[in-house]
């Protein structure tokens, strides 16, 4: 009945050890800080937390294994999510958003019972024409087209308001970040015929261009209607670019030619926290610089260092 929790326990013990408790404490503090924030962003934060759980569930690769081999699989997943939610939800109880504790647990409760994996057979050939040979975006947009359209239109419609469009845009950008979770085969990597540095630069360049295309109009409208927010909007965009750069660097830092997925969820969550706590910005930059150096070193196993 508790096989999944046992596996998680061994994984956390092996990968994080004592650091796990530090992360739990950090997450609880951040959660308290966010839910206690004077600008009343608690409900959006709850939405983001539910989204992160949903995203994790949608992309988890062990689902087939768990349902095949574990007794009462969905129940085990449910318990896992409820436990991992506790560091966030318990903090809510000590704020004005105490009711978010129940909202979070009820919403996360539903996640294992909703089937997100629809068999999408539409090719949407315009995607290929638009993105040409950018397979990361072709694949990512094809997988998330409906969600991306909804989030973009919602962000655009809400753009004159305060904070609402930023939360929606943040969710939109997160979907884009998820494009980099899949690994390409080593043959695809080598097809670029670039050095590690060139590859990382070209991927960042391509990703930023697409982010500008979506983020810029919404942030511009938002800044026109809310001139007091233009500085924050600039910070928001810069931080999202930093997250994108780190996501790319993290992917290739952990890239292995035999693994089809990159595992950088925990590091990414720590990175995302920096959006809520500006003091973490320097830490995020250090994080990026380290990951980039690691990525260049790791990619030198697969790409020629000189052209």
């Amino acid at each position: 009945m508790n096989q999944l929790l046992k596996i998680r326990f061994f994984q956390l013990k092996r990968d994080l050890g004592f650091l796990f408790f530090v992360i739990v404490a950090l997450v609880s503090c951040v959660s308290f800080f966010v839910f206690n924030h004077q600008k009343q962003i608690g409900l959006y934060a709850a939405g983001i937390v539910v989204y992160l759980f949903h995203n994790f569930h949608k992309n988890r690769r062990d689902f087939a294994f768990i349902t095949k081999h574990f007794e009462r699989a969905k129940f085990q997943i449910l318990i896992e999510y409820q436990l991992f939610l506790l560091p966030v939800s318990i903090s809510c109880l000590f704020t004005n958003y105490w009711y978010c504790f129940f909202i979070l647990h009820v919403l996360v409760f539903t996640i294992p019972f909703v089937n997100f994996k629809t068999k999408n057979t539409f090719k949407f050939s315009f995607i290929t024409r638009f993105f040409k040979d950018d397979f990361i975006f072709i694949s990512g947009v094809r997988r998330n087209l409906v969600l991306l359209i909804i989030l973009f239109l919602l962000a655009l419609a809400l753009s004159p308001l305060k904070l609402f469009p930023l939360v929606t845009l943040f969710l939109f950008n997160n979907v884009i970040f998820s494009f980099y979770e899949a690994n390409e085969s080593v043959q695809m990597l080598q097809a670029s015929q670039q050095t590690p540095k060139q590859l990382i630069a070209s991927l960042l360049n391509s990703g930023v261009k697409k982010m500008v295309l979506v983020n810029f109009p919404i942030l511009l409208i938002n800044s026109i209607f809310n001139p007091d927010l233009w500085m924050f909007n600039m910070y928001f965009f810069a931080y999202n670019v930093l997250i994108l750069a780190t996501v790319i660097a993290l992917k290739y830092e952990s890239y292995q030619y035999k693994n089809s997925v990159s595992n950088h969820q925990i590091k990414l969550i720590v990175m995302i926290l920096g959006l809520f706590i500006p003091y973490l910005f320097p830490l995020a930059i250090i994080f990026y610089v380290q990951s980039r150096a690691g990525a260049i070193k790791n990619l030198s196993h697969y790409l020629d260092v000189v052209n």
């Binding site: 072709i138 690994n183 085969s185 080593v186 695809m188 097809a191 030619y257």
Partner: protein
């Protein structure tokens, strides 16, 4: 000449290849045989540069082998999700001017408009082979290329390998199914006990069969007759 000198590689301090010294003729087809776990794939991964050896050198005509000149067709492979076969192929630069995508896809019976995830394992392998043929590479490494292919594709692949060789490519093939290698390879090398034990020419292939698998066959027969 592809020269390998004093090459050693270990996983977690467990040696897989030890003091390998061997030279391979370029523009030849080389078969690598050995039992499961003998280090064939590790040798290929080191050759392709994916794994860094503990020590030793690999030189192609006295120069370092560039990764961009190596075509690697793995035994285990994966593809990016939600891409069609034609989108996948478009990622690879067409440096082989003779490459005719439509014709080859037809020979291999590959529907290029289909999502790759709907392909069978054999079709995925054929697609991967096409992607490498599209590029003009010097060195081709095939790890268990005949596994999972139907008879027709197996035959086509053998012709392709012969053709590549005629174009001056150096080819390495690892296989635990030894028969397809006989008619194909200029030399077959036996990997055993972390090193190349012996190299065989076409005339010695009967001897190879006896030496590589004879001992194992005898052991297997004895064990099975006692265990079943």
């Amino acid at each position: 000449m592809l020269s390998i000198k004093d090459l050693s590689f270990s996983y977690n301090e467990e040696p897989v290849l030890k003091d390998v010294n061997i030279s391979f003729e370029v523009n030849h087809i080389h078969g690598i045989v050995g039992l499961n776990g003998s280090g064939k794939t590790t040798f290929f991964n080191v050759l392709a540069g994916f794994l860094i050896p503990d020590n030793g050198t690999i030189l192609l005509n006295n120069a370092e082998v560039l990764k961009k000149n190596i075509a690697y067709i793995d035994a285990e492979f994966f593809f990016y999700p939600k891409l069609t076969a034609s989108e996948f192929l478009s990622i690879f630069p067409k440096t082989n001017s003779n490459f005719n995508e439509t014709e080859l896809a037809h020979i291999f019976n590959l529907p290029l408009d289909e999502f790759i995830e709907n392909y069978s394992t054999g079709m995925k392998k054929k697609l991967l082979i096409l992607s490498q043929l599209k590029q003009d590479k010097q060195l081709f490494i095939f790890d268990e290329p005949f596994n999972g292919l139907d008879i027709e594709s197996n035959k086509s692949l053998q012709y392709i390998i012969e053709l590549l060789n005629k174009k001056g490519k150096t080819i390495f093939i690892a296989s635990h199914i030894i028969e397809p290698l006989f008619g194909l390879c200029h030399q077959i090398h036996h990997l055993k006990n972390k090193n190349f034990a012996k190299s065989y020419f076409p005339n010695d292939y009967e001897l190879l069969n006896k030496e590589v698998f004879g001992e194992f066959d005898e052991h297997l027969k004895n064990t099975l007759s006692q265990s079943l």
